[in-house]
Symmetry: C2
Subunit: 221 residues, 2 copies
């Protein structure tokens, strides 16, 4: 049967969307070459065109241009990396062998934070206040996909103490950093998620995450 | 200067990625025609290929096939819609005029939830436990973009009491619903975000959400 949906993209464009979803990777290995300013601008545009709950646009992006600041952030991440390793118990050694950030290598580093004053936004958040973070994650995912299409790697680092990073960047009370993004050129994109290549975890079968009508209910017809 | 980045997508594919980011909409108006099963399967595939913190894949998708269940969910949303309106004070009437969900109309309804047992995942979450939600939001954003390319609308509804929805779907302790997704054919995609068309809010200038080296620091060079 022919597809009569007039809103459907032509096959080549639809394939590009699935390609970028399949090939996007959480990158930790970067080359130091600079990211072209117009590319960074397009990535920020992509982020800012994400959906947000009640159109609140809670995201803020801090570009780290100062090298000393970047080194201080790296020290924060290193402290938390060791604390995480200890908390992992029997997986401590495996974890310490992984490269979990590229802060000193990547061409660009951005901090993404939730803005202060979010309590004034009630639409879609009265019972689920965390939807501000959900919106901001959608913005980062947009940026991630755009970066992959640009041939630029992006890694989301969440290994830091948010209060300390907030203080370092003079964030006001109520703002909360949720990501350090390393963005830059790469020699190659990992063929699979890095944590899969290193046997940290495997992708679950799709059927195991899809239910029908109730928790654990068999999914597909 | 010629672009020598071998990882960059050809222009047509790169444009398709930006096109879908620009044209994706949070939809509330649907036609009742069914969504083809192979399309729904591709959307779920897209979601499941999102990044996740420590590769934990915290997302679960419950397809609502039972009509009575859908009606009960609609009642939950309606209750919270009125509670939200009251909480909005002077914007109550404006809010009540908006269509905020398409639960009874859309061809498909999915509930997205965070799985139970997430406390066992420490990687990237020791100081930022909410990264499980961030990963799940990335999954929904993947699905949203794929849906747009398929010519299918998607709306994320977060107007419900999570404990009640969890009970309705027999979720175990520790699981948390974060989205009701309405997915279906549409007559047209809104040319701009619906909340902008209805003067609820405007998109902020990009410069106002980008800083440099510190909160509020001037962004662009």
């Amino acid at each position: 049967m022919p597809d009569r949906n007039p809103h459907r993209y032509p096959d080549a464009e639809r394939s590009a969307v699935y390609r970028v979803i399949a090939e996007r990777r959480d990158m930790r290995h970067f080359r130091p070459d600079p990211v072209a300013p117009e590319v960074l601008e397009r990535l920020l545009w992509a982020a800012h065109h994400a959906p947000s709950v009640g159109f609140m646009q809670p995201w803020r992006f801090i570009r780290i241009a100062d090298r000393t600041l970047r080194e201080r952030m790296h020290a924060l991440v290193e402290t938390e990396r060791r604390a995480t390793a200890r908390a992992l118990g029997e997986r401590e050694d495996d974890f310490m062998r992984l490269k979990v950030e590229g802060l000193l290598d990547a061409g660009e580093v951005l901090v993404v934070a939730l803005a202060d004053g979010r309590e004034g936004h009630v639409f879609g958040r009265r019972t689920l206040p965390e939807m501000d973070l959900a919106s901001t994650a959608c913005a980062i995912q947009n940026m991630w996909l755009a970066a992959r299409a640009e041939g630029i790697g992006l890694g989301w680092v969440s290994i830091f103490e948010p209060a300390e990073l907030a203080a370092l960047l003079a964030m006001p009370a109520g703002a909360r950093p949720v990501a350090i993004l390393c963005i830059g050129h790469v020699d190659e994109f990992y063929p699979k998620p890095m944590l899969e290549l290193h046997d940290w975890a495997r992708r679950q079968p799709l059927e195991s995450v899809v239910f029908r009508d109730r928790w654990g209910g068999c999914g597909e017809e």
